[in-house]
């Protein structure tokens, strides 16, 4: 992992917390984390927890959903307060509750449009100037839709830079088994740390690394 975004934008004292349900310690503002796992193991539900649990008053969350709108079963995100959504490929207004501030982009291949609609949504949900958690689900979908992987990398690099500059928390999902080692090495470059997800013998387990004070072993948790 490169320290490309570490300390960028002059970090504040703010830290992001995740409550008692996730075995993850506080994460400093301006951090970008790669969430590595397969969707069958529940990366979408883990992302929803990371975006919505343990938030301080005024903290907002924005989810960039690259594969349509979040399913109705993702109630934790859809029913949370102070959240925004950028949907790719569907009309967000028709698919999410009215309380969710939503924007749409025609296709996951419109990386520039995703960035602009994120800017609009983040401005709308952080009216009080609170910190923003940003989820992107997923980089794997972008790599499927965009022919030139370098464009996806420029997008990820620019987006993580923007999140660091605004002292937010970036949470980008990728399925490592869907890509070759060289592509994964490129994808991991801009991130400060990662959270790996797997299904262990007794249920879901995660391991956080790259940002200080995290348990080094696989930790069971409820998903």
């Amino acid at each position: 992992m490169s320290p490309a975004t570490s300390g960028a934008g002059g970090r504040t004292e703010h830290q992001f917390h995740f409550g008692a349900t996730l075995p993850i310690g506080p994460v400093p503002a301006g951090t970008n984390v790669l969430v590595e796992g397969a969707s069958v193991d529940g990366t979408d539900r883990l992302l929803d927890q990371l975006l919505t649990t343990g938030r301080s008053p005024g903290e907002a969350a924005v989810l960039v959903s690259t594969d349509g709108a979040p399913q109705p079963s993702r109630r934790q995100f859809r029913e949370a307060d102070n959240v925004g959504l950028v949907c790719c490929g569907v009309n967000a207004d028709e698919t999410v509750p009215d309380e969710v501030i939503a924007a749409s982009v025609a296709s996951p291949g419109d990386l520039t449009g995703i960035g602009i609609q994120f800017s609009k949504t983040a401005d709308a949900v952080s009216v009080g100037g609170g910190s923003v958690r940003v989820g992107v689900d997923s980089i794997s979908t972008l790599l499927m839709y965009v022919e030139d992987a370098r464009s996806v990398f420029r997008f990820v690099h620019a987006f993580t830079g923007r999140i660091a500059a605004m002292n937010g928390l970036g949470l980008f999902v990728v399925d490592p088994d869907a890509h070759d080692d060289r592509t994964m090495a490129m994808v991991r470059g801009p991130f400060d740390g990662r959270i790996q997800l797997r299904t262990g013998e007794s249920g879901p387990e995660l391991r956080a690394s790259g940002f200080g004070g995290q348990p080094s072993d696989w930790q069971p948790f409820d998903l």
Partner: protein, 298 residues
């Protein structure tokens, strides 16, 4: 860190105001060039590299997206920002989905402060590159710049090495490179090819980040390089490269072979390529130490 910023706005008063705002980008010095049109922007970046472009969306002969596209063509690593009073939803990205721009609303409370803060952060982090940047990139760039003055002195020795490597490996292109901040320069090469390439177009840019000799047997079937037009147009399919590592531990360039056909590369060939790279580095370092040594009185 000095920065060159291009400011684009069709309205002269607004353009002057934005240019004045951008002149305060820290730590400076900041050189701001202001133009009023897409064509003006295109002409500027065709002759003068910029680190950042800040553009209004609506322009007399196009949009800020046209400016961003021109920037990506000439200065692919530059930070591109739309600083505009146009609403988000009016920005048409349909023809520029992979250009990537930042969006800062003009006229909002604190908009100027946000613009300056964002440009400062993104210039410092170099976040609009289409490739990973090594951890100590500023140290690495300083290291390669220190070897630039001795490239001519080492030319004959490097030429002999590339000739020997081309004969040994039987590849169609053999070369030694310096990897500067934004471009790869071919110091010596056997075979046809451009001498200067944008960093994002080269395989070596990615090889810098990997350990040992990097071999890609078929570039066309590799997910990272299959869509690389520069490689496709050159008809290159095979790559093997080793890093040139300075005594200070910085990667300053590469020693590479490429070919028009996919092929394998044995362990013995990897060892031999690594040896060619080490010899090239020694030749460069010898010239640098000679250049740094005090002149001996005769």
């Amino acid at each position: 860190m000095s920065a060159t910023i291009l400011c684009v706005d069709g309205d002269a008063d607004r353009r002057a105001e934005t240019a004045e705002t951008l002149s305060s980008v820290a730590p400076g010095p900041t050189d701001v060039t202001a133009v009023g049109s897409v064509e003006g922007a295109r002409a500027t970046v065709a002759s003068t590299p910029v680190d950042c472009a800040v553009s209004e969306y609506d322009l007399p002969d196009g949009t800020g997206m046209d400016v961003a596209s021109a920037i990506r063509e000439h200065c692919p690593d530059a930070v591109c920002v739309l600083y505009t009073s146009a609403p988000h939803d009016e920005v048409d990205t349909s023809g520029a989905g992979e250009v990537i721009v930042e969006f800062v609303p003009r006229g909002s409370t604190g908009g100027e402060t946000e613009l300056v803060s964002l440009v400062e952060s993104l210039l410092r982090m170099r976040t609009h590159t289409a490739y990973p940047v090594p951890a100590d990139e500023s140290g690495r760039v300083a290291a390669v710049e220190a070897y630039r003055p001795v490239a001519d002195d080492a030319s004959a020795a490097l030429d002999r090495l590339t000739e020997m490597a081309a004969t040994h490996f039987g590849t169609s292109l053999t070369f030694v490179t310096f990897m500067f901040e934004h471009e790869q320069l071919m110091l010596e090469q056997v075979g046809e090819g451009p001498t200067l390439l944008p960093r994002e177009d080269t395989v070596c840019t990615y090889a810098l980040l990997e350990d040992g000799v990097v071999v890609i047997e078929d570039l066309q079937s590799d997910p990272l390089f299959a869509a690389n037009e520069a490689l496709g147009e050159a008809g290159l399919r095979f790559y093997a490269g080793t890093k040139l590592v300075s005594p200070g531990g910085h990667v300053i360039g590469t020693f590479c072979v490429m070919d028009e056909e996919p092929r394998t590369f044995s362990d013995a060939e990897r060892s031999m390529l690594a040896a060619f790279g080490e010899e090239a580095m020694e030749q460069l370092d010898l010239r640098r130490r000679l250049a740094d040594a005090p002149e001996v009185e005769r």
